[in-house]
């Protein structure tokens, strides 16, 4: 049994393609630039207005006063829209060679053949490939890029776009709404169970630019879906920005699982916003692996609005040298008999910093609800940092609430034990870390669990002194 440890290297994610685009907007952020993006994208008037309004909100909001320092972000140095040299295709054969090669290297077409019911692939600011299995179309499932959705399903988009995540939620949501481009739209009709996952992959190739994809998913009553999101970028010397927005609507008795493996390059500021509104007796599960980026501020949120709604978050962050990953989870219990389970893990090494920042809010009307939070941190050396900042706001007595936090170092005894069984020090550490991360990899489909373990192995390479 050969492990993938020796077989892969950074090139899988770090290869750069020439910054070859069809159109790249000038750097900066102002009304003219927003107008130009809107024109380039042929927005309907209502969308153009959303953008312009959002710009005003952006200008009126301050940077967060808590969390990682974002002062290095200079919007006048970021190009917010880069149109690749490709239209939207429904066959990989039609995708230009350079771009197709990127997704081949990332294994997307292969995964599509073996384990996915639909794929979206975005390169810089636009989606270049989209597919969905015929039988899903017949059942009324819609899976397309956001631009097509704006054009073909304007009512559905208008009723949901920036309604789950309000434009004034925080500064980078407003930025997103002003410059968004690309992303995926999914609608699963009532009662339809999509058994095989859909996946969207976001690749940012262009230096000194941003990616602002919008994901809007509506799982109608009694329906179910597993959606997978992947993202990566090559490393450049200057910062890149990712400020996507994910809005999820899980209607009564519906179920959505949203899995992410994020491996942005280490010059990326990942200021992403994800939120789900969960209906009566519906279920919303998040699985999240956060590996890349220089700074990450990511706090997916479930709003349990319907009686009996359930949510589960299983996530891991892995911070190496120079990385500050401020991640967490937020849940609002807004109805009776709702429940949430949080299992958050973090690993830090070589001076990397992981913070688990969370919010649990239980409203007065959420009697008989349950919330259980467990967070566990593993530090691989003495110079790395791990922190836990939980906030709980519980407004009813009739609630079961538990919070457990553990912070620990990798054990020398365990390493010696494994080495006495023939594992090198690096293999021993990798095995301990893989075991630590196993609740997350076990929650992922096999191929993604393998990818996650590869990422762990990659992160551990060169850490052994």
């Amino acid at each position: 049994m050969k492990t993938n440890l020796e077989e892969i290297n950074r090139n899988i994610y770090d290869f750069k393609k020439k910054d070859d685009y069809d159109y790249k907007i000038k750097k900066g952020l102002n009304k003219e630039i927003i107008e130009e993006i809107s024109k380039q994208k042929n927005d309907p008037d209502w969308m153009r207005e959303i953008r312009l309004n959002a710009l005003e909100v952006y200008n009126s909001l301050k940077l967060p006063t808590w969390g990682p320092d974002l002062s290095e972000l200079d919007m006048s140095e970021i190009a917010t829209y880069v149109r690749p040299k490709s239209k939207l295709n429904s066959s990989w054969d039609d995708v230009p060679e350079e771009i197709k090669d990127t997704f081949d290297k990332l294994g997307i077409p292969d995964a599509e053949k073996t384990s996915l019911a639909g794929v979206g692939a975005q390169y810089d600011s636009e989606v270049v490939y989209h597919s969905i299995k015929e039988d899903l179309i017949k059942q009324g499932v819609i899976y397309t890029d956001m631009e097509t959705a704006v054009r073909e399903y304007p009512d559905m988009v208008r009723n949901h776009f920036m309604k789950c995540v309000p434009v004034n939620d925080h500064k980078f949501v407003a930025l997103h709404a002003a410059v968004w481009s690309g992303g995926s739209f999914v609608y699963v009709p009532k009662g339809v169970k999509v058994d095989i996952p859909l996946q969207s992959y976001f690749r940012l190739n262009s230096p000194e630019s941003g990616q602002f994809e919008h994901t809007l998913i509506i799982v109608d009553e009694g329906a179910s879906l597993h959606f997978i999101e992947g993202c990566s970028a090559p490393k450049y010397n200057k910062v890149n920005l990712h400020a996507g927005c994910v809005e999820l609507y899980v209607k009564d008795n519906a179920y959505l699982r949203y899995s992410t493996i994020e491996n942005w390059s280490k010059n990326m500021l990942n200021l992403n916003t994800k939120k789900a509104i969960v209906g009566k007796n519906a279920g919303m599960d998040w699985v999240s692996g956060s590996f890349g980026s220089k700074i990450s501020m990511l706090y997916p949120m479930s709003i349990l609005n319907g009686e009996g709604a359930k949510t589960e978050f299983t996530g891991i962050s892995f911070a190496g040298a120079g990385q500050n990953l401020d991640n967490g989870f937020k849940v609002v219990h807004n109805a009776k008999n709702t429940s949430s389970v949080v299992n958050a893990k973090s690993i830090s090494k070589n001076g990397g910093k992981c913070t688990y920042r969370s919010l649990v809010r239980v409203a007065e009307n959420a009697q008989n609800s349950k919330c259980s939070v467990s967070c566990e941190s593993l530090m691989l050396d003495d110079i790395s940092i791990s922190d836990t900042i939980p906030t709980a706001d519980v407004r009813t007595e009739e609630v079961e609430f538990s919070h457990e936090a553990k912070i620990g170092k990798i054990s020398d005894k365990a390493i010696f034990y494994l080495m006495s069984r023939g594992l090198s020090e690096a293999d021993a550490k990798a095995m301990i870390v893989r075991g630590f991360a196993s609740p997350v990899s076990n929650a992922l489909p096999m191929e993604y669990a393998v990818e996650m373990n590869n990422l762990i192995n990659l992160e551990l390479e060169g850490t052994i002194g």
Partner: protein, 246 residues
Amino acid sequence: MENTLIEIKDLCVNAEDKEILKGINLKINKGEIHVIMGPNGSGKSTTANAILNHPAYKKVSGEILFEGENINDIKTDEIARKGIFMSFQLPEEIPGISVTNFLKYAKNKITGEPVKIFKFKEEVKKYMEELNMNSKNMERSLNVGFSGGEKKKNEILQMLVLNPKLAILDETDSGLDVDAIRTVSKGIEMFKNENNAVLIITHNTKILSSLKVDYVHILVNGKIVKTGTGELAKEIEENGYSEYKN
């Protein structure tokens, strides 16, 4: 000479700057079972850990030759791959890694060859039956939530699967009831053949009653003070170590 598996010459070992082993000499040939006995703190576990080159135990002088090669400064994992196994007194818990995956991985590392899954499973199943182990344990995380007895049996299982040339059993019998000790002895008998050897470290004699022991060494205060046959163990059982102290 070619029959010698391991030879320890004048080995002095410090732990945290404290002298623990003060000149140990020991030679184990293929096909032999040796026992090191001694009171607590005499240096028994230090001997085992020093052979595996545990970083906390510093070799001050002397040498350890394994099949004629000096392994004083070789890394633990390489020593393991050369064919030395140690059953731990307190086996470590590794959450999230199943016993079966761990065994497969370790077997691959030790042999350097791909593990043939079907044959491997059959083999493991057979050993587990012999050791009265619950087959459900295979899918549990390594040692996590195992009872003391289950952990020790799991060590013996690893010994059988990894099939080393020299198996060092560090207090494998301690804290076990009579039945579990019998099972561990059975495991040792299954393992033992003309081409390998066993070094049992213990402070009681129960495990020795059902095994054919070739040599017993009495270790007191960092030195082997007496070497004898299995009879010596019986003597210790009756009289204790008092005559060897001071």
